[in-house]
Symmetry: C2
Subunit: 343 residues, 2 copies
DNA sequence: GCCTGTAATGTTATCGTTATCAGCCAAGGC
DNA sequence: GCCTTGGCTGATAACGATAACATTACAGGC
């Protein structure tokens, strides 16, 4: 540590010297708190601007024992899904005066744990995690840190702290009932990373509840979504003979559709295709997918609001499950005369 | 500020008390620096783990006058493009012992400026920006901060600090020559946010250099990429009568293709469709797009390496332009007997 | 003119960590 | 036995900001 008296050529001391005031007055002016005459404040702000002075957040965080910062972790950002959730959350959080720090876990609990640990070292005001399945060390780590934590996307009745998400089992059951009513009898599911995706597992459990038995599944090496859907579809068609295939999301469903076309199958006559999440791709397809629309933006906003309330000590619902809605399309047989409510 | 003597119930003091040593010894043990006997080190590490002690990064950053942190800004993360670049960069940077903080600018220079300012307040070791067109205040701000800065994706011969990117003008010219040789004569371009996307502008300049005149352009309200491509295509077909349409990327090109099919146009006979970036979608399309493959991963790795060298004071090339490659597909007429080299 | 109240400003100590330097102790050389 | 030498370890003072408290200046009431 340099033992020079104090570097007054940069930072808040330079601004203070230039303005002929103490650093405390500069600090007050920069933060816009009371206790500085408006003439001085304007002069100080102008000098700070001219000198390109940017306050040192580390010093501020240290002085205040925590940072105005919310850490957010999502699995990835390769389609609209988490981007939509994020957009809803970040607007709300930033309007409340907090910065957000985002990272992706690539569906790896170890990666998530390490990231949470790194973020905790900055003493954030809150944390947001995607999903409810984490590394076993994560829960005690967050509890010890005493930081308000939101789990989102999935629903759990026993969250680490609070939770706003979808009930993926119920979503699976909803779409299963819809499709079963259309007369399909041999369902199958295409996901990614079979056995390590709790959301996919939950949806399949919902499907199985309705059909009353195990359902054929296929996955594919993690690559781009379109390709994974296509590969999964090929595997399924070879090994089983489904008459309706559920996909993890719309992009994969589209990949699957191209394979059906390639094989000369009639959609939706020979085979039904069902996506998930009602992504943007659907708006340009000549035949829109039958899919499930999810309130992603709303989830983000509500999650952020509940978290902010929690941060301010307001007690609210610990766990909230949001409803999804089956969105009929042209890749399943048309509905009969009986009006189907959708969800 | 509380005047209590010192909170020894948590943090490094608790660990020190528990281990019966001074905080200095704990600090050394945690960082793995020399000066602690291995027996003590192991004991301290174990205690720290048991107490869920996470060092305070703000205090460390303050003490060291800068943080082991690299700020990265990208326009968005909605397709593979920047995700690929990021993947290349982050691995390299994290292996060098730095954390990364990422944010998106949504193509807004004001947003970028504010974000850079916020990140600078944490005194990062380096910054990475996407593109070379920034807010006018950005350059002096970064220069004053004296922080190594990499600009990527675009190429500039006069970067803020260093630069690794593509020459989008040359890329436009390359693909223009390829398509011109196939006999197309009335080109048009579909982008997003006409007039505010410097990359699109650069590519169009390349097209115009080859065709020797202005080229019709269309954009669309910023929405999802597929829809924007479709909308732009409709506008163009109504207002002009192009026989080949260049799109900002493959997703938009696919949106455009669905419109061509809708209108009963023959691709590639009546009209050619050209994408950009060789995205994953292409691997499942029954007719792969003619597109341009870009070395995204490589760009990320090289950019990160050059930046790390710069951070360690090693002088290297200030600006590097990476080559792109035209990737022939089924959405432009087949090549004649003359063997086309590609780029 | 003296006193009191209030707003503006300054002084001091502190947040948790680390660089520096000083001290301590055991082993080895004479 | 005395004096180095070198490896561990600890005490202290920063890092840049802010909270709490102290001080000053000035206005108005008596």
């Amino acid at each position: 540590m340099a033992r020079r008296p104090r570097d007054t050529t940069s930072g808040i001391y330079a601004v203070a010297a230039e303005a002929g005031v103490s650093v405390m007055t500069v600090s007050r002016a920069m933060r816009g708190v009371e206790g500085v005459s408006s003439v001085r404040r304007d002069a100080i702000l102008q000098i700070a601007r001219r000198l390109n002075y940017v306050p040192n957040s580390a010093a501020r965080a240290l002085s205040q024992t925590n940072a105005d910062l919310v850490g957010i972790s999502v699995p990835n950002l390769l389609n609209d899904v988490f981007a939509d959730v994020l957009q809803g959350m970040r607007g709300t959080i930033q309007r409340a005066g907090y910065s957000t720090v985002i990272d992706t876990t690539e569906y790896d609990a170890e990666v998530e744990l390490r990231w949470v640990s790194r973020i905790l070292s900055w003493r954030p005001a809150a944390m947001i995690l995607t999903g409810i399945d984490h590394h076993p060390d994560l829960r005690p780590m967050l509890r010890d840190a005493g930081i308000p934590t939101l789990e989102t996307w999935d629903f759990s009745s026993d969250p680490i702290d609070i939770c706003v998400g979808l009930d993926h089992v119920a979503a699976g059951a909803d779409v299963a009932r819809y499709v079963q009513d259309l007369g399909y009898v041999r369902p199958a599911f295409v996901g990614a990373r079979v056995g390590t995706d709790p959301r996919a597992d939950a949806r399949v459990r919902g499907l199985e509840q309705v059909w009353g038995g195990p359902i054929a599944r296929a996955g594919a090496a993690p690559e781009n979504a379109f390709r994974m859907g296509a590969d999964g579809m090929r595997t399924l068609m070879a090994d089983h003979a489904p008459d309706v295939v559920f996909f993890l999301n719309d992009l994969m469903a589209f990949g699957g559709m191209t394979v059906a076309a390639e094989m000369g199958l009639d959609v939706p006559g020979d085979i039904g295709i069902v996506g998930f999440n009602a992504l943007g791709l659907n708006t340009v397809l000549p035949v829109p997918l039958t899919t499930v629309s999810t309130p992603r933006r709303q989830m983000g906003v509500m999650g952020a609001r509940n978290l902010l309330a929690r941060m301010h000590g307001v007690a609210g619902a610990r766990a909230v499950a949001l409803p999804v809605k089956v969105q009929p399309g042209g890749t399943t047989r048309p509905q009969g005369r009986r009006l189907q409510a959708g969800a």
